[in-house]
Amino acid sequence: MNETLELSKMVGLLVPLIILQLILMIIALVLCVKTEETRGPKLMWVLIIIFGQLIGPIAFFLFGRRQA
């Protein structure tokens, strides 16, 4: 009983964190696919965004896009 309570509390706490990270990842992915030209191969950026946890999308936002 106590353990399930602890588990549900933990999940409840971590869900906002995961949702925020997912939003970040999705925005970065959409931008990456839609943009005409990225700095470096596009596939590399997609992999970085997906596997780079928090740092991946940040790196894409900061360095991935060519200034129009």
Partner: protein, 288 residues
């Protein structure tokens, strides 16, 4: 930028002022420019991703300190039977840790996000298009500065607020006064560093140069304030330490005169840096 021009004409309709006579610094022009900067932030998605990153950083710190004993137990390769007593973290300490996290990651992200704010426009020629209109250099710089301030203070409030809420949920309630006081002190430090970024963005051709010179200056100031607190207590670099103290002290922080000087010099420095940016922009409004 048609808007600025129309507004300008509108305010001068009766006077029939010649278009090139003086550069207007009216409030309406400034508001139009500010609107343009905010739109730019939104279009480049900075207004969305920077606050989200700050919120994630802010949530991460309390959660990590809460689960630290479990993480060490599961992941650390301790010999069998080792018992480590980790004292339960203090709520105020967690907030100070969050601030130092923002001081590294947060300032890096903000400085990198804002590094091209003037030099990028100047290199692409957009600044020339804006500045041939009757727009004063001061309102051009100020609109950029205010948009950076909105972004940084908003993100910091969101991230720090999230950290405060999670600390309350997981560890303990921290009073509002230390929270707000440390928020304002840290926000002032952010403003100072980002104003330096804005100055270097006006001074240098390369955006990366602007980001790294200002980050270097920020690191130098904090290190100096940490190494020789006696002589550097008045410098803006002392603000970070002051914010940690404010977060960990119960109630109002007892500020020493030197600490007040840190706040005052930061404010003066921000004004001086802005004035210097305007002068630099006036000297070289566009690359040719």
């Amino acid at each position: 930028m048609n808007g600025a021009n129309e507004v300008y004409r509108g305010t001068h309709r009766g006077a029939e002022a010649p278009r090139s006579a003086t550069r207007s610094s009216g409030g309406a022009v400034f508001l139009t420019l500010l609107g343009k900067e905010c739109l730019e932030l939104l279009r480049s998605f900075k207004l969305i991703w920077v606050p989200i990153v700050f919120a994630v950083l802010g949530i991460m710190q309390p959660v990590l300190s809460y689960y630290m004993p479990i993480i060490i137990e599961k992941a650390g390769n301790m010999p069998e039977g080792t018992v480590i007593e980790i004292p339960a973290p203090m709520g105020s300490q967690v907030l100070a840790d969050t601030l130092s996290q923002f001081g590294v990651m947060g300032i890096l992200i903000l400085a990198l996000a804002c590094m091209g704010i003037v030099s990028g426009e100047r290199n692409s020629g957009a600044s020339a298009l804006v500045l041939v209109k009757p727009v004063s250099y001061a309102s051009y710089i100020l609109s950029k500065w205010l948009s950076i301030m909105l972004l940084s203070w908003g993100s910091l409030l969101l991230g720090y607020g999230a950290a405060w809420y999670y600390t309350w949920l997981l560890i303990e309630y921290v009073d509002v006064v230390p929270f707000l006081l440390s928020f304002v002190l840290y926000g002032l430090w952010f403003s100072f560093v980002l104003t330096v970024t804005l100055l270097f963005s006006t001074a240098l051709r390369s955006a990366a140069g602007a980001a790294f010179t200002s980050l270097g200056a920020a690191i130098l100031l904090t290190v100096l304030a940490g190494l020789i607190p006696k002589y550097m207590a008045w410098s803006p670099g002392a603000l970070t330490g002051l914010a940690y103290q404010a977060a960990t002290s119960p109630g109002w922080l007892q500020m020493e005169p030197a600490s007040w000087w840190a706040v005052i010099t930061a404010l003066i420095a921000i004004a001086a840096l802005l004035a210097a940016s305007v002068v630099l922009l006036k000297r070289a409004p566009a690359r040719d």
